[in-house]
């Protein structure tokens, strides 16, 4: 059985794992909530992925990324999620791009050049406004599940404008919109617009834009709103929640010299 490589991305909300074969093809992807036992979650993801790929033994090399990157006992190396998202997206697109990653608790803007080198990056300020955590809070306030949000936002005629930076203040704003009889669909779309506003104020987004992360994976309407705002299409990779893990696996393969 030929060698394979592993990338694991332990994010604030979810752990994503990708296995690559020796020619860089994806063998398996697994995803689980990160929970509280990062090491255990990573190990379970690996077991599942190895089984699903029909392989035996362990990866030749593993790179861990994400906030929990230091907790992966089987990792040979660690890289930041900024490196891994950049590497994963560039692998998929292969040209100069600006990447937006909307994660569970932080957002990133990463600029890659034509050679796949990172030119610049930004992370959101320490506030979680505009991240996955914001969307979870809004769902909670509206008594919805996060899975229901995208359909509602897509069905809205007119969004309400939510003006606050602060998640808690936004929840208060929502209360006053509800009192005034605003439709839930409009409020959800307003919240999605607020996510896009937080992103576009981070850094100028020039050229082609690629969007990744769990929020993008589960809410295509946010991509539509973003494209509308930018006035051009936004590229979404095949598995947008896994680009960090893919970048980590590609880094592992590269480090092994394959």
């Amino acid at each position: 059985m030929s060698t394979f490589y592993c990338g694991v991305d332990i994010g604030a909300s979810a752990t994503k794992l990708v296995l690559l074969d020796d020619i860089g093809e994806v063998l398996a992807r697994t995803l689980r909530p990160s929970g509280v036992d990062y090491a255990g979650t990573a190990a379970t993801c690996l077991d599942e992925a190895v089984r699903s790929a029909g392989r035996e033994g362990g990866p030749a090399l593993t790179v861990a990324t994400g906030y929990g990157r230091d907790n992966v006992a089987f990792a040979d190396e660690t890289r930041t999620e900024i490196h891994c998202h950049g590497t994963g997206c560039f692998h998929e697109v292969g040209r100069r791009i600006s990447i937006i990653d909307i994660g569970g608790q932080d957002n990133k803007v990463i600029h890659m050049d034509d050679a796949g080198r990172r030119r610049e990056f930004k992370m959101n300020r320490k506030c979680a406004a505009g991240t996955g955590a914001f969307i979870e809070e809004i769902a909670l306030r509206l008594g919805l599940t996060v899975e229901q949000l995208d359909g509602l936002a897509a069905a809205a005629d007119e969004p309400v404008r939510l003006g606050s930076f602060c998640t808690v203040f936004t929840k208060t704003e929502i209360l006053s919109h509800l009192r005034r009889g605003a439709a839930v669909e409009s409020i959800v779309r307003g919240a999605f617009i607020s996510v896009v506003d937080r992103i576009v104020e981070m850094d100028p987004l020039e050229g082609e834009v690629v969007a990744t992360g769990g929020v993008i994976a589960h809410n295509p309407t946010i991509v539509e709103i973003l494209a509308e705002h930018l006035g051009r299409p936004v590229i979404v990779p095949e598995a947008p929640q896994f680009t960090g893990a893919l970048g980590a696996a590609l880094t592992a393969r590269r480090a092994a010299g394959d």
Partner: protein
């Protein structure tokens, strides 16, 4: 970044002497506070300390206490006490830490130097060259103790310093004299002032030499070392002890350079720190960078205690010019030129901008400067959000990821 084995921080041998000198300084203040044998002046960090010393005052610097409260992490418990008294969490966290310390009667000076507490002032003297908060800070004690508050109000955002600016500032310095004569019971002595200013000038030139030693590759000291070893340049300037200390320190650093001893073993990348230190994370940051073979070799902060115009023949001209030609007082254009020169002098690979929530005047990343400078110098940067003392405003994980990502980016460069 696979290398998680943080290298140890290399100890500078002169630190022992510095502790001894700082201990003697605080004990002298403590004795004066207990016995009344000497008058005590509180002075903001870049205030007219030389003038105060010429009158025989012992000079206490509340910002130094602020830094001690931050590095000891006591600030965390003290800031809320000041917030509750109406001092906002958005204003200077040195101020709120120090006011909280006063309100709760807690200070690390007790344990570190056996002091009874923070020494009470006979006079409070400010220079607003740092910010308006220093004046408001001392005004708190003016109300508490009913002691005089006097000082210098410095204009801000200056490009070139004009003769009118200087004359106004000199007049403000001279206007302090009657109050200081009254409180000290001594007549103003120009010759004594010249002696103190001359000593302060020698100290500042030695401090400049200390910082300049970091232009060497590998650097013999880090920014994190600098923030500790600048203590005498802040609180003992104008006294011969400060000069002696820096002579000893320079000898050690020159020896390191001669022997090729690096502050960070295997120094690969050199960084510039723009903004205040995160005092409660100083050690963590030092270890984080050294663990990645990265050395923060220079900073605006440490260089802000170089006062070359003190060498002027006229001590008033020297003080007025020194305390107004500071980076913090200057225009964006001046700051940009200054930083670009620093990046070139220290052969900088990357810049850390610290956006300190409660210290806008020391956060030079809020008006597009990082973006403009990166375009002109091609040196990459990150901006971390944090604070000098209030760790509620700092995200460990976000800062770490940003530091590491910038180092990765440098590793990836061809």
């Amino acid at each position: 970044m696979g290398e998680r084995d943080s290298k140890a921080i290399k100890k500078i041998q002169a630190t022992g002497l510095m502790r001894k000198l700082m201990g003697a300084y605080f004990q002298e203040l403590d004795e004066a506070a207990r016995t009344g044998n000497r008058k005590i002046a509180w002075c903001t960090s870049v205030g007219p300390a030389e003038l105060l010393r010429s009158f025989g005052f012992l000079v206490y610097f509340p910002e130094n206490h602020g830094a001690v409260l931050g590095s000891s992490r006591m600030a965390q418990d003290l800031i809320p006490a000041a917030n509750a008294r109406g001092y906002s969490p958005d204003i200077c966290s040195y101020l709120t830490s120090d006011v909280g310390s006063y309100l709760k009667g807690e200070t690390p000076l007790k344990q570190a130097f056996g002091m009874a507490g923070v020494p009470r002032a006979d006079v409070l003297v400010y220079n607003t060259n740092q910010c308006r908060d220093v004046k408001d800070w001392l005004a708190f004690y003016e109300r508490e103790w009913d002691v005089p508050l006097i000082g210098i109000d410095t204009p801000r955002g200056l490009g070139d310093l004009s003769r009118d600016h200087l004359d106004g500032l000199i007049a403000q310095h001279k206007a302090l004299i009657p109050t200081l004569e009254d409180i000290s019971g001594r007549a103003f002595d120009l010759d004594r002032l010249k002696e103190v200013v001359a000593s302060s000038y020698r100290c500042t030139m030695l401090w400049k030499q200390v910082l300049g030693s970091a232009t060497h590759r590998p650097s013999p000291l880090t920014f994190f070392d600098g923030t500790i070893h600048m203590g005498p340049a802040v609180v003992l300037r104008g006294l011969p002890e400060a000069e002696h200390y820096y002579e000893v320190l320079i000898q050690e650093l020159e020896q390191r350079n001669a022997d090729g001893v690096a502050a960070v073993d295997g120094e690969k990348h050199r960084f510039y720190w723009e903004g205040m230190p995160v005092w409660g994370k100083l050690r963590d940051h030092a270890l984080l960078f050294s663990g990645q073979q990265a050395c923060v070799v220079a900073s605006t902060y440490c260089n802000s205690w170089i006062f070359e115009p003190l060498g002027s023949d006229d001590p008033f001209e020297g003080m007025a010019r020194s305390y107004t030609e500071l980076f913090i007082v200057r225009s964006e254009d001046f700051k940009e030129r200054y930083l670009a020169d620093m990046f070139a002098s220290y052969d900088i690979d990357g810049i850390i901008y610290h956006d300190a929530k409660t210290c806008p005047n020391n956060s030079n990343c809020r008006y597009g400067m990082p973006q403009r400078l990166t375009r002109t110098t091609d040196v990459p940067y990150v901006t971390i959000n944090g604070d000098l003392n209030d760790l509620r405003l700092y995200s460990e994980e976000q800062a770490r990821t940003q530091f590491e990502a910038l180092i990765e980016q440098l590793h990836e460069q061809p």
